[in-house]
């Protein structure tokens, strides 16, 4: 693409939106770096779509400013912003064929010869043979690609995607995720992607902002968010976390020592986002796949220096690549453990006494005053 717009970042400063007494978006500051694939992730009603619509100009912010590069676009109507949107359910014009749908933006800006550009776009999304079709004659995945092409042909500084894959089935969604990522790399335009699917956000985005209740809970690269969640909402919403309530017994060193259910656990002090003091409470977190499971009879074989929790398996489900166990322990109920199916220990069945053990470096600490279940099961489709 020969986009000469230097563009720049999308900067939202103090932007908020209230409808009557309901606050959809609390004042937030957000910077989307130019050329990045940025995801706004959250459950429905968290304010992510409203934020996106304020960037598009379809929603007027109650307070705050929207900058594109150095330009304040807050008061510009949508048709004067160098920003285009891929709508949820695509919003293709039903009375126009695919060719005219894609050419729409160019024609409105008075571009005379649209043929070559539309042709290029049809090639980019691999729909060259469908130019004369009407939108309803295309499959969901094809319509989705037309929606992307219709927006991209205008070389926007920023492409906004509002749950663009929500209506597709799982397999097609995976395929389109890769496709969108490919297109983004190819055209180099900033993408802001709104989704409630945490896997989708992590697969596609360079940067993810996790939103909850109209606020940004945490912002960072996917791996960073996953490994170092700073709130229980992020810990539970992005994947699954085991959160154990513990009492701090030792601070000061590079490691924090806590007790939970009568056992001692340690975690790196710099991975604890909460302010701690001896005798205080903290939530200790560990991801299910980081935990190894040993039968109680083999407890002696576990290496020194690992965190241990004893418990009893209450449920196990075999899902192919791994087996997922649910373990009740004095430290916490219903701890999740994902064991890869390399060598399966047949003794690990419901009812068995087991020891959960993991590398203390994989442990993180969270402020214990939060709701421990925040963000659990709020994803509409738990895929």
């Amino acid at each position: 693409m020969t986009d000469t717009n230097t563009g720049g970042d999308v900067r939202l400063t103090g932007i908020s939106k209230t409808y009557g007494s309901f606050t959809a978006v609390h004042p937030l500051d957000l910077t989307v770096p130019q050329g990045s694939f940025f995801a706004l992730l959250g459950a429905s009603g968290c304010g992510k779509t409203t934020t996106l619509r304020m960037i598009a100009g379809l929603e007027e912010p109650t307070t705050g400013t929207v900058f594109l590069g150095d330009k304040d676009v807050t008061d510009l109507p949508p048709y004067k912003r160098p920003v285009n949107t891929v709508f949820q359910s695509y919003a293709l014009f039903p009375h126009l064929d695919i060719y005219e749908n894609i050419a729409f933006g160019l024609r409105r800006r008075g571009v005379k010869s649209v043929k070559k550009q539309v042709g290029d776009m049809l090639d980019l999304v691999q729909l060259g043979d469908k130019a004369k079709h009407k939108p309803h004659q295309l499959s969901g995945g094809q319509q989705q690609r037309v929606a992307v092409a219709r927006a991209l042909i205008n070389h926007p500084q920023v492409l906004l995607l509002d749950e663009p894959l929500g209506a597709l089935d799982l397999k097609l969604r995976r395929q389109m995720q890769l496709e969108l990522k490919r297109i983004q790399t190819e055209v180099g335009i900033t993408f802001v992607h709104v989704t409630h699917d945490q896997e989708e956000a992590m697969t596609m985005a360079d940067q993810v902002a996790v939103m909850n209740g109209g606020r940004v809970e945490q912002l960072g690269a996917p791996a960073d968010l996953y490994e170092n969640p700073r709130t229980t909402f992020v810990a539970n919403f992005l994947g699954t976390s085991n959160l154990i309530e513990a009492e701090v017994v030792e601070t000061g060193g590079t490691d924090l020592v806590v007790t939970a259910g009568g056992g001692k656990l340690s975690l790196p002090a710099d991975r604890c986002s909460a302010a701690v003091r001896t005798g205080g409470k903290v939530l200790v977190g560990v991801r299910p796949e980081k935990i190894s499971l040993a039968h109680a009879d083999d407890a002696g074989k576990i290496a020194e220096g690992r965190n241990r929790v004893t418990g009893r398996i209450v449920d196990s489900s075999f899902i192919g690549v791994s087996t997922q166990y649910v373990v009740n322990s004095p430290a916490g109920a219903e701890l999740q453990v994902y064991e890869q199916n390399i060598e399966r220990d047949t003794r690990l069945a419901p009812g068995a006494e087991v020891v959960l053990h993991w590398n203390p470096a994989h442990t993180f600490g969270l402020d214990a005053t939060q709701d421990i279940d925040a963000g659990v099961e709020t994803v509409e489709d738990a895929s």
Partner: protein, 264 residues
């Protein structure tokens, strides 16, 4: 027996169709009649006289022209106003919206005679001169409800995101309306307009009350039926029927052509 059972739906359909079409066929057949005397009620013999001279009866073609004029203006007025009302009712939240929403059905629900009589009272009290304008005002009034209903159904099923998409794609408010809103609402508007034309063209009761000395085509037919029915009335009726059928058939051919072009 099995044949009947298998084709029962088709037979029932054809019988219903016949029930609707037979009166039209009678009108058509009798347009070729050469009656003895003034009443065209009994078949005598085939003749093309009436078809050769459709305006042969005094005042017939004048009343037809007048009816067509009134129908055209009423359609235009009711369609423009009705479309605007429909958009306002669906798109905007304003005071008295609920009241307007239900009151708009009143002309459809109210017995026509009552409406005709009250309109006449109103016109007389206002000192209006009965004639073309009072008839036109009355027709626009009762056509409005039908247009509003037809357009509203269409606008309600329209995805507001389509207009947002247009605005997002550099179309200003006027462009958005002309390029996206109007074409998508067009079938509803067209249905409303057709309905308005048909209703206005053959309205008798309201027109008869408010026309003064002006005579529309339905009034002419009614009036002449007292003194005898010229064959020309059947000729006009048949012509209208044939034109309507041709319009429908042409519409269907165009749509199916378009569909074929799109799929091939």
């Amino acid at each position: 027996m099995r044949w009947i059972r298998r084709n029962l739906v088709v037979i029932a359909g054809l019988l219903t169709l016949a029930y609707m079409i037979v009166p039209n066929i009678v009108v058509m057949v009798f347009s070729f009649n050469k009656p003895n005397g003034r009443f065209n009620y009994a078949w005598q013999r085939f003749s093309l006289d009436a078809w050769k001279d459709p305006c042969g009866v005094a005042d017939l073609c004048g009343s037809l022209t007048l009816s067509l004029q009134i129908a055209a203006w009423a359609t235009l007025g009711a369609t423009v106003l009705g479309t605007m009302i429909a958009f306002a009712l669906v798109r905007y939240r304003f005071r008295a919206r609920g009241a307007i929403n239900s009151l708009i059905f009143l002309p459809m629900a109210m017995p026509e005679v009552v409406m005709a009589a009250s309109l006449l009272t109103l016109f007389l009290n206002m000192g209006a001169e009965l004639g073309f304008w009072t008839v036109l005002i009355a027709h626009i009034m009762f056509c409005l409800s039908f247009v509003v209903t037809a357009v509203k159904a269409r606008v309600m099923s329209m995805d507001p995101r389509l207009e947002e998409a247009a605005r997002d794609l550099y179309a200003g408010p006027a462009q958005t309306f002309v390029r996206v809103t109007l074409p998508i609402a067009a079938p509803g508007i067209a249905a409303g307009a057709l309905l308005a034309f048909a209703l206005s063209f053959d309205d008798f009761i309201i027109t008869n009350f408010n026309a003064g000395s002006t005579v529309t085509f339905p009034m002419f037919v009614w009036g002449s039926a007292q003194r005898g029915t010229p064959v020309q009335i059947n000729v006009i009726g048949t012509a209208m029927f044939v034109i309507a059928v041709l319009v429908v058939v042409a519409g269907q051919i165009v749509t199916s052509r378009r569909k074929k072009a799109a799929t091939s």
